[in-house]
C-alpha cells in the first residue's frame, strides 16, 4: 500500500473505528471534545461531533479522569482516557497502579479494568524537564497493566485497536515529536496483536531491540550500517510489557549480539530487563556483551544542543553497533 498517513491521523482513525464498532467505547480527557478543538494535538478531532456524549472533555483533574475511566470500565464500558503528557501520569499514579492494575487480582477476578490510557511524550519538542519523560519502565514493573508504544502510523492504528479490545488496562504511549510524521497507512480494521514484536528489518550481525520513535532511529542506523556491509536486525518491541521474549531471544540467538535502545534514561530502564533476560537465556552463546543505549541520566534539558544530545539517535546507535562489532568508528 502506497498510501501515507501521519500517526496523529492513524490514531484518530483507530479511535473512530473503535467507537463505531463498539458503543461501549467512550473517551475522556482534557480538551478532547470538538468544543475544545479535539485535543491539543487534534488527535481526537471530530469524534465528539460524531459520537456525542461518548467523548468528554474534562477539567484538569487527572485523578478524576483515571477514576472515571476505571469506574466505568468495571461495569462494561471500555474507556479510552487521555493523560495529556506522560509526566502527568505522576498525579494519577495511585489510580493507575494501586487501582487499575490491581483490581482484577484483588477482586479475585470478579471485576476487571479494560481501559486504555493514551499519553504522549518525547524529547525534541523544546518543552523541557517536566514534559518529555519516557516512564514506561515504571509501568512495565507493575503487575496488571500492559504497556504499548507504536513506532509509526500503521502500527499506531493496529496497536490502538488491540489495546482497546484488550480486557486489561493498557498504557498507550505516543511520541509527541513524530505525530505528524507520515508513514504507511494502516489497513482498516486490522489489529496488531499485543505482546508480539515486529522484526522491522532482518539482519544477521547484530540485533537492536527498541520501540516508539527510537525504533525508527534504529532502522535509520541499520540502513547506514548496511552501506558498510553491516547487517543489523531491528526489532520493534511494540508491546513493552509483556514483551515478546521469544522473538528477541530467537533473534539474538541468530545474531549473537544485542543492543537495546530507548529514549528513557538508561539505568533501571527497559533495556536492563531485556539485557538481563537475554544474558540469562543465551549464556555462553553471545559474541559480545549486551549493550544498552538510553537517554542521559538527567531531566530532559531545554537548551537545544543539550536536548539534541539527550536521547540516542541513528548516528550514535550506528557508532555503538560498530564498536560492538569491533569496527573502526566512522566520522
Amino acid at each position: 500500500m502506497t498510501e501515507k498517513m501521519t500517526i496523529a491521523q492513524a490514531l484518530n482513525l483507530a479511535l473512530d473505528d473503535a467507537m463505531a464498532e463498539d458503543p461501549k467505547v467512550v473517551m475522556l480527557g482534557e480538551d478532547l471534545a470538538d468544543n475544545e478543538e479535539g485535543g491539543v494535538m487534534g488527535v481526537t478531532k471530530g469524534l465528539s461531533t460524531k459520537y456525542g456524549k461518548r467523548v468528554r472533555s474534562t477539567p484538569i483533574s487527572e485523578q478524576a479522569i483515571m477514576g472515571a475511566a476505571i469506574g466505568a470500565s468495571l461495569v462494561g464500558y471500555k474507556p479510552v482516557a487521555e493523560i495529556m503528557l506522560m509526566n502527568f501520569t505522576t498525579v494519577a499514579m495511585d489510580m493507575i497502579v494501586n487501582h487499575a492494575a490491581k483490581l482484577r487480582f484483588m477482586s479475585g477476578g470478579q471485576t476487571h479494568v479494560p481501559i486504555v490510557i493514551r499519553t504522549m511524550t518525547g524529547a525534541g519538542f523544546s518543552v523541557g524537564g517536566q514534559h518529555s519523560d519516557y516512564l514506561e519502565a515504571w509501568f512495565a514493573h507493575t503487575a496488571g497493566i500492559k504497556v504499548v508504544a507504536p513506532a509509526n502510523a500503521a502500527e499506531a492504528y493496529g496497536l490502538l485497536l488491540s489495546s482497546i479490545d484488550d480486557p486489561d488496562p493498557v498504557l498507550f504511549i505516543e511520541n509527541m515529536p513524530s505525530y505528524w510524521t507520515p508513514g504507511p497507512a494502516p489497513t482498516r480494521g486490522e489489529r496488531i496483536p499485543l505482546g508480539k514484536a515486529r522484526i522491522a528489518r532482518e539482519g544477521k550481525d547484530l540485533t537492536i531491540v527498541s520501540y516508539s520513535r527510537m525504533a525508527n532511529e534504529a532502522l535509520a542506523a541499520a540502513e547506514a550500517l548496511a552501506e558498510d556491509g553491516v547487517d543489523t536486525e531491528v526489532i520493534d518491541l511494540r508491546t513493552i510489557a509483556p514483551w515478546d521474549q521469544d522473538t528477541v531471544i530467537a533473534s539474538v540467538k541468530k545474531t549473537g549480539r544485542l543492543l537495546t535502545v530507548h529514549e528513557a534514561t538508561k539505568p533501571f530502564g527497559v533495556g536492563s530487563e531485556i539485557a538481563a533476560v537475554v544474558n540469562e537465556a543465551l549464556f555462553g552463546d553471545l559474541k559480545a556483551p549486551v549493550k544498552r543505549l538510553g537517554g542521559a541520566f538527567c531531566a530532559v534539558p531545554f537548551s537545544k544542543p543539550l536536548e539534541d544530545a539527550f536521547a540516542p539517535n541513528a548516528q550514535g546507535i550506528a557508532a555503538e553497533v560498530r564498536s560492538m562489532l569491533s569496527l573502526d568508528p566512522v566520522d
Partner: protein, 327 residues
C-alpha cells in the same frame, strides 16, 4: 431538616436489622482476631452503624457503592453475604475475592459492592466512573462513595466533587465523619468546621447531618439518592458519627478524648434504636431478641464456613493478574 422524608416503621426495622448485624459482626471480628483465629488488620465500624443502614434501605441491589478499609458496615448493609465476607477476611478461596483481596479490598458486584480501597480518598474518583456509566447507559442506578473525614483533605476529594458536579453524575458522596483519622482529630486535620460546607465549592448541595440519628440520616440519604436518580446530580453528605474504637484493632484509642468517647458510646445508636422500636411498640423484646439470635446464628455459620474453607492454592499468584493466566 423539618421536611425531610421520614422512614416508616417497617423501614426502621430493616435499618435496625442491618445495624444489629453490623454490631454483632463487629463483636465477632474483635473476638476472632484477638483469639488469633484470623490474622488481619481490622478497622471497626462500631458507632457508625446508622449511616450505611439508612443509605442501603434507599438502594436496590443494582445500585453501586464504593467503600474503604473501614467498610464492613457498608458491605453488610448493602447485602454482602456474611459467609463470603468472613471467608475473605480469613483469606480463604471461598471468600468474595478468593482470599486475594482481604479486608481492605472486598469486592462483591452481585450486591453492588464495586470497590473497597485502602488508599485514602480513592473511593471517590472511581465512584464517579460507576455513576458515569449509569449516566451513559441510563440505567437509573445511583453510586454511593463512602470515605472518612480525613479523606476530605486529600486531592482526590476535590477533583471528584468538581467533576461529579460538572457532569451532574448520579453519585452521593458520604463522608462518615467519625472525628478521627488514625490518631489525628478532625480539628487538627481540617481547616473548616464542617465538611458539608465544602459542597459550596462545587455548587453542590451539602448536608451535614447527625449520622447516628436514624431518621435524619434516612432523610438525608433519601433526598440525595432521589436527587441523583432524578438526574439532578451529586450531593455531599457529611454524616456526623463517632469511632468507638481505636483506628484499628490493637490500637486502644487512649489518645482519644475520654469524655467525648464515653458520651458517644453511651449513646450507642444500635441500643438506642432497639429501645425506641420497643418503646414505640414496633418490636417486642422477644422480636428484637429473635433478630439478634438469628443474626448470631448466621454469623456462627459464616465464621465456621470461613474457617472450614480451604486457602487458595499458589497458582492463584498467576491468576487474575491479566485475563490470561501467567505462564
Amino acid at each position: 431538616m423539618s421536611n425531610y422524608p421520614i422512614p416508616d416503621s417497617a423501614t426502621l426495622v430493616r435499618m435496625y436489622e442491618k445495624m444489629e448485624l453490623i454490631r454483632l459482626n463487629d463483636e465477632r471480628a474483635h473476638k476472632v482476631v484477638k483469639t488469633g483465629r484470623i490474622v488481619m488488620p481490622y478497622y471497626s465500624p462500631r458507632g457508625q452503624e446508622v449511616i450505611p443502614s439508612a443509605i442501603s434501605v434507599n438502594l436496590t441491589e443494582e445500585d453501586y457503592i464504593c467503600t474503604i478499609y473501614r467498610g464492613t458496615h457498608d458491605m453488610l448493609a448493602k447485602g454482602v453475604p456474611p459467609k463470603l465476607l468472613w471467608a475473605e477476611l480469613a483469606g480463604r478461596v471461598t471468600g468474595t475475592c478468593k482470599g486475594k483481596g482481604g479486608p481492605m479490598h472486598i469486592t462483591h458486584p452481585e450486591t453492588g459492592v464495586m470497590v473497597t480501597t485502602g488508599v485514602v480518598g480513592s473511593s471517590m474518583p472511581i465512584a464517579n466512573g460507576l455513576a458515569w456509566a449509569s449516566q451513559l447507559s441510563g440505567d437509573d442506578r445511583v453510586t454511593i462513595a463512602n470515605f472518612g473525614d480525613g479523606a476530605a483533605n486529600i486531592g482526590a476529594f476535590h477533583e471528584s466533587l468538581n467533576l461529579a458536579a460538572l457532569w451532574k453524575l448520579p453519585v452521593v458522596f458520604v463522608c462518615q465523619n467519625n472525628r478521627y483519622a488514625e490518631h489525628t482529630t478532625f480539628a487538627n486535620s481540617t481547616a473548616v468546621d464542617r465538611i458539608g460546607d465544602r459542597a459550596a465549592s462545587y455548587a453542590m448541595p451539602g448536608i451535614t447531618v447527625d449520622g447516628n440519628d436514624p431518621e435524619a440520616m434516612y432523610g438525608a440519604a433519601k433526598i440525595a439518592i432521589d436527587r441523583a436518580k432524578a438526574g439532578e446530580g451529586p450531593t455531599l453528605i457529611e454524616a456526623m458519627t463517632y469511632r468507638f474504637n481505636g483506628h484499628l484493632l490493637g490500637d486502644d484509642g487512649h489518645y482519644m478524648d475520654k469524655e467525648e468517647r464515653q458520651k458517644a458510646i453511651d449513646a450507642d445508636p444500635v441500643a438506642r434504636l432497639r429501645a425506641r422500636l420497643i418503646s414505640d411498640g414496633v418490636l417486642s423484646e422477644a422480636d428484637a431478641d429473635k433478630i439478634s439470635a438469628d443474626i448470631t446464628a448466621q454469623l456462627d455459620e459464616a465464621i465456621a464456613f470461613a474457617l472450614d474453607s480451604d486457602f487458595p492454592t499458589l497458582d492463584e499468584l498467576r491468576r487474575d493478574v491479566f485475563a490470561t493466566e501467567l505462564a
